[in-house]
Structures are given as structure tokens and as C-alpha cells.
């Protein structure tokens, strides 16, 4: 089956746990005929409303797991946050082309907030040795940091809203991911994988054009 050909499925909510005040993880049952590659999304469908979420599961996992940012006025996250265990949901997928593509260039993952999700899936699939920047406001939003730290060659939490007197997690940078890239990334060509807020995707892409010619840029934008 082509990764771009999406089918429709129904799955039950199996588990939910809060990761912070702003985000939670849900697990849903995995339909038997649902293949995906790490980095791909599923699309929840409810009436005429649709919402995409990246999977955080390994491709051989018996359940599908998602990392969801809670938006009080959102179409889906309040539903997922409040649904009873066992509630059925319709979804389509797998969607997207945001998969890891080995190349001679070093891979550099950049995420903001729950945009770390596809990289969690890649990590759970066995990918190691990559550099990853995770941009968040506070350390409470550094979701999945323990398992990412183990797999990554370099893991740099970038905290943008931390008081100067506050301590930082090991290896963390005080500032935005774009500031880190601008100040610390050596010249050269990289494979940039960007997932998260469009402002981050825009700023990093423009920086790549300016400073890192010959790089490739793969994006997954959270609108």
C-alpha cells in the first residue's frame, strides 16, 4: 500500500494520560489493516470536522498513540480530553510524507511543543544518533525527554520563558530554537526536519536559506 493512500477506520479510546496542563497522550485501538511509517499522521473525522495528529507509536505497536495539545476552544482536543474510555472514533490515514530519509547529510530535528510527536515515533522505531532541538516555553512541556535523550546524539531543550534565576534541565538552552541554530550550528548542509508552529517553520526555513545552503527541509506544520 502506498503511504499516501489513506483509508478510513474506527478505533476505540483505550487510555488517556496528561503530560502537562497543556497536553495529553491518548491511546486508541489499532485496526488490523492499518500500516504507517514513523512521522505520519492520522485524521480524526467527526461530522464535517477533521483534525490531524501525528502518531507517536512505533510502527509495530499494537496500539496507536497520539500526543495532543489541549485547546479549550478546539474542535477535537476537548472531545478527546473528555471522552470515556471505549468511545469509538473515526479516522483516516496514514497521511503525510514526513518520514526520516537517510542521507549523507546530518539529520537535525526541530520541534516546538507537541510537534515532537513524529520524532518520538521515529525514536520508538529505533532511530538513534540524531540532533534534536525541542522548543518550549517551560521545562514542563519537554514531553518524552527521557526516551529522546537516550536515542539522540544531541538533545537540546530550548526554553523561551524561563526566569534568569531558574535552573535549566541538563544541556538546555535559554532561548528559541532559531536563536540556538543561529548561534551554535556549524556551517554546512543538513537535513532539517521541522515540526510544530508555522512561525518556527518559517523562521528556521529562512535561516536555512541564508546560512545553510545545500540543506534539505522537510516540514510538518501545526496550524
Amino acid at each position: 500500500m502506498s503511504a499516501s493512500s489513506a483509508n478510513s477506520f474506527t478505533a476505540e479510546l483505550l487510555h488517556r494520560s496528561w503530560l502537562s496542563e497543556k497536553a495529553f497522550e491518548v491511546e486508541i485501538s489499532r485496526p488490523p489493516s492499518f500500516p504507517f511509517q514513523p512521522g505520519q499522521r492520522i485524521r480524526f473525522i467527526r461530522g464535517t470536522a477533521e483534525r490531524d495528529y501525528s502518531l507517536i507509536s512505533a510502527p509495530d505497536s499494537p496500539r496507536l498513540a497520539l500526543c495532543v495539545r489541549f485547546v479549550a476552544a478546539g474542535l477535537f482536543s476537548p472531545v478527546l480530553a473528555g471522552a470515556d474510555i471505549g468511545t469509538p472514533f473515526n479516522f483516516s490515514g496514514p497521511h503525510g510524507y514526513f518520514i526520516f530519509q537517510p542521507s549523507p547529510r546530518p539529520p537535525l530535528f526541530v520541534a516546538t511543543g507537541t510537534g515532537v510527536a513524529p520524532f518520538v515515533s521515529m525514536t520508538r522505531a529505533g532511530l538513534t544518533g540524531f540532533t534534536i532541538l525541542h522548543g518550549v516555553r517551560t521545562a514542563a512541556e519537554l514531553y518524552y525527554q527521557a526516551e529522546i535523550r537516550v536515542a539522540a546524539g544531541l538533545y537540546v531543550p530550548c526554553l523561551s520563558d524561563v526566569a534568569p534565576e531558574s535552573g535549566l534541565p541538563p544541556g538546555a538552552y535559554r532561548g528559541r530554537v532559531t536563536d540556538y541554530l543561529s548561534d551554535h550550528l556549524a556551517s554546512g548542509a543538513y537535513d532539517f526536519y521541522l515540526c510544530g508552529r508555522r512561525e518556527m517553520v518559517r523562521d528556521v526555513t529562512l535561516l536555512v536559506d541564508e546560512r545553510f545552503p545545500g540543506s534539505r527541509v522537510y516540514t510538518e506544520i501545526f496550524y
Binding site: A3, I99, P102, T205, L206, D209
Partner: protein, 185 residues
């Protein structure tokens, strides 16, 4: 949902295979032509009478095919992304040939050049045909730097699609009782 990102504000864009290129890059130009063709087909569908459901479905299928064509063209050779895309192949071209035969079977034989135009739906089909030919020419330019088999399916598809659109224009005129206007030298 906001549709703008702004990462192309300085004239560069990303291919599906990740490269950052100028928006004047041939691969971007050809994708633009396919997009223009798809948009003209959309205008044509909008102009079709509601009772032409079968024809509408046929054109919508072609529009969906053109998204696959665009994705294929937006990906550089040897990119692993190609493995995730639907390739346009002989089966798509054969489907067009079957549609051409079906439409042409309802039309009188043509022995002269005709002027593009007639009913608005036919005029849209002629515009689509001309844009399709331009897209085909651009793909041929692109193909000179690529392995010959990489774009052969797309080239054959666009060639046949141009033929389909010519016959479709005649069919639309016939459907609406508008005679084809023969070219007078």
C-alpha cells in the same frame, strides 16, 4: 486555520524531496503549469450543467490524477519520497484513451482544423488543452536531465490528456448544439 507560512517570502520554496530552490526553478515552473491546468479544469467543471454528472466525475478523477502528477514532478530523482507517491502509469493513460474513444464515438469525423471556442465549456476545454501542452513541453525540458524512465509515464499521460481535452471541447460543443467553427484560410 491560517494558510500562510511565509517561508517563501524571499523567493525560494521546498521541493517535496526537501531541496530549497528558487521559485523560478524548472521543477517549480512545471508544477505551476500542472496546477494551472488543474485550475482550468476546475473552472470547466464549474461551467458544466448539473446533469452532466458522469462527465463531471471523469474530470474530477483527472484533477485527482494531476495532484499525483504534481507530487511526482515536485520530487527530485533518487529521492526516497518517490516510494511514497502514486506513479502515473500506462493504466492512467489507457483510461484516458477509453474516454477519448467514448466521446469521439458520438461526434462526426473531423477533416479540418477548428477554431478553439464555441460553448463556454468547450472554450474552457480548449484553454485546458493549451495549458496541458505547455505543461508537457516543460516536463520534456525537465526530462532531459533525468533518467529516461522517470518521467515517461507523466509525459505519455499529458500527451493523451491533451488529446482528451481536444475531444472533450468538441463533445461539449456537440452537447450544447454549438457547431465547431472550421478554420477558413
Amino acid at each position: 486555520m491560517k494558510t500562510y507560512v511565509g517561508s517563501g517570502d524571499r523567493g525560494r520554496t521546498s521541493l517535496l524531496s526537501g531541496e530549497r530552490v528558487s521559485k523560478t526553478h524548472l521543477r517549480v515552473e512545471v508544477c505551476g503549469d500542472v496546477d494551472e491546468l488543474n485550475s482550468v479544469l476546475g473552472a470547466m467543471v464549474a461551467a458544466l450543467p448539473e446533469h452532466q454528472g458522469e462527465l463531471t466525475e471523469e474530470i474530477l478523477r483527472i484533477q485527482a490524477d494531476l495532484f499525483h502528477v504534481g507530487a511526482w514532478l515536485a520530487t527530485s530523482p533518487a529521492s526516497p519520497t518517490l516510494g511514497m507517491l502514486q506513479e502515473i502509469g500506462p493504466e492512467h493513460t489507457k483510461a484516458l484513451e477509453a474516454a477519448i474513444d467514448r466521446l469521439e464515438g458520438t461526434l462526426p469525423p473531423l477533416r479540418s482544423f477548428i477554431l478553439p471556442g464555441g460553448h463556454p465549456t468547450a472554450a474552457w476545454a480548449h484553454i485546458a488543452r493549451a495549458v496541458c501542452r505547455r505543461a508537457e513541453r516543460q516536463v520534456l525540458h525537465l526530462a532531459t536531465g533525468e533518467p529516461p524512465e522517470r518521467l515517461s509515464g507523466v509525459i505519455a499521460y499529458l500527451n493523451r490528456l491533451s488529446d482528451y481535452l481536444f475531444v472533450l471541447a468538441r463533445y461539449c460543443n456537440s452537447l450544447h448544439g454549438v457547431p465547431d467553427r472550421i478554420w477558413q484560410k
